[in-house]
């Protein structure tokens, strides 16, 4: 069991890259008005998944990197998403044992809570660095994210199984 624990990092890298590209594409896709605020923070979901299932290799640094890519895509201040994602990955790393044994319902709530904290922190930081204020609509994506979490989880589980990442 322990011998199998570290599978090739190459597979993991590809799996993360693939899921990130899909998530980034979903994030910047043009959307109809009604879906706009409900649209989940796909990248945050992906980060939660990988730092939950491969906690010894996906942590703050990968979160930071992905956040920075997101900032390039959105043309926003550097560092804010990076810090938020790093915190998210770190928090999930810390509690991965507790989270892994939860069933979908409670897991959904905890993931929603974590992403909520992530959004709060990035919202504050944007408030500090630019003239941004958190509005009610800002939180709608949490609901979308929580509802999408089980599907993201199942799909990525499938991807992880095919890539034989343990």
């Amino acid at each position: 069991m322990m011998a199998q624990r570290k599978t090739s990092g190459f597979n993991l890298l590809w799996a993360i890259a693939l899921s990130s590209i899909i998530a980034l594409t979903l994030t910047i896709m043009p959307l109809p008005q009604w879906l706009f605020y409900l649209w989940p923070d796909w990248m945050a979901l992906i980060i939660v998944y990988w730092s939950l299932t491969v906690p010894d290799r996906v942590g703050p640094w990968i979160g930071f990197f992905i956040g920075t890519v997101l900032e390039v895509l959105f043309v926003r201040n550097f560092g804010v998403q990076g810090l938020g994602m790093a915190m998210l990955a770190f928090a999930v790393n810390r509690m991965h044992q507790q989270l892994q044994v939860l069933s979908f319902g409670p897991q959904m709530l905890v993931v929603g809570l974590l992403i909520g904290v992530f959004k709060l922190v990035t919202g504050w930081l944007y408030g500090l660095t630019t003239d941004f204020t958190i509005t009610t609509e800002y939180w709608y994506s949490l609901l979308g994210g929580m509802l999408c979490w089980p599907f993201v989880f199942i799909l990525l589980q499938e991807l992880r199984r095919t890539a034989r990442i343990r």
Binding site: G82, M87, D131
Partner: protein, 293 residues
């Protein structure tokens, strides 16, 4: 399982990441040093932008492939009529332009700068309450520069804020942080119009109670401030409210440009892209004006 050493190293790793992020944040808000690295990364992630725009592109191709022939014929007829109409108007415009030039030279006023127009495609729209901006498919490679004015076929849309190699982001006039010097077309009254965060509402805050302004007036860009060339329509006044206790009128306006509906925008560039040319000309004009006095 996790030894105390690993635990502490995880914390210190996290600490390092946080430190790096905070430094990055400070550097990016205080300086422009990170513009270069950002541009390089923007090129690297441009395939993702292309991927994201695929559904809309495919949709556009499909609608054009599937639309019935009669519809296309009607659309063609309409465009043809519009074309001839515009062409006729342009003929008139040319003589007016020459006349205007002559009059200006008689008055010793500075010549009006000619603007070059470039078409740009919309890539991404991000409109939420606090940030109204769009991403367009033209960048450094196409000669876009920061502060460039962006219009559509109806009126002013906004100005370029960030320029990347292949695309650039445009701040809309309705962004809560945007202000634009304008002029009331009917009276020539100069003022400033502010964005509110709503796509269909602008604010004109500092007008005296006795200002000559009424609903339906058209605001055009005044050219003051040097960013926007003058004479382009910006907004129509939708409401003028007089509040007795206040010093100023409460005036709201509606943008003329189709801010959230157009697929293409036009970039206006001055004939001389650098600002020095403009400054020189203005200085010359000032000198000659003083010489006259």
């Amino acid at each position: 399982m996790v030894s105390s050493f690993q635990k502490s190293s995880a914390w210190s790793q996290f600490g390092i990441v946080c430190f790096v992020a905070v430094v990055l944040m400070l550097v990016d808000t205080r300086t422009t040093w990170l513009q270069g690295p950002r541009n390089v990364m923007a090129v690297a992630v441009s395939p993702i932008q292309f991927l994201a725009s695929l559904p809309t592109r495919i949709g556009r191709v499909l609608t054009s492939a599937l639309s019935a022939e009669p519809d296309i014929k009607i659309a063609y007829e309409n465009l043809r009529n519009e074309y001839f109409q515009l062409k006729a108007e342009t003929l008139l415009l040319r003589t007016l332009q020459e006349e205007n030039q002559d009059l200006r030279s008689l008055l010793d006023a500075s010549e009006r700068l000619n603007e070059k127009i470039t078409l740009a495609e919309l890539i991404n729209v991000s409109i939420d309450r606090d940030n109204h901006s769009i991403l367009i498919g033209r960048g450094i490679r196409h000669g876009v520069y920061g502060g460039q004015a962006v219009i559509d076929d109806q009126g002013v849309i906004g100005q370029v804020t960030d320029v990347m190699p292949f695309n650039s982001s445009v701040l809309l006039i309705t962004d809560p942080g945007h202000a634009l010097p304008v002029q009331v077309q009917r009276t020539g009254l100069r003022t400033v119009v502010y964005g509110t965060g709503s796509v269909s509402l602008l604010r004109v805050p500092f007008l005296n109670q006795n200002s000559d302004i009424e609903a339906g007036d058209i605001l055009i860009s005044s050219g003051l401030g040097g960013r926007f060339p003058n004479g382009y329509p910006v907004a129509t006044i939708s409401e003028v409210k007089v509040i007795q206790e206040e010093n100023f009128l409460e005036v709201s306006a509606q943008p003329i440009a189709k801010l959230d509906r157009s697929n293409h925008v036009l970039l206006l560039s001055r004939e001389k892209a650098d600002n020095t040319g403009l400054v020189e000309r203005l200085a010359d004009a000032d000198d000659s004006g003083e010489g006259q006095q």
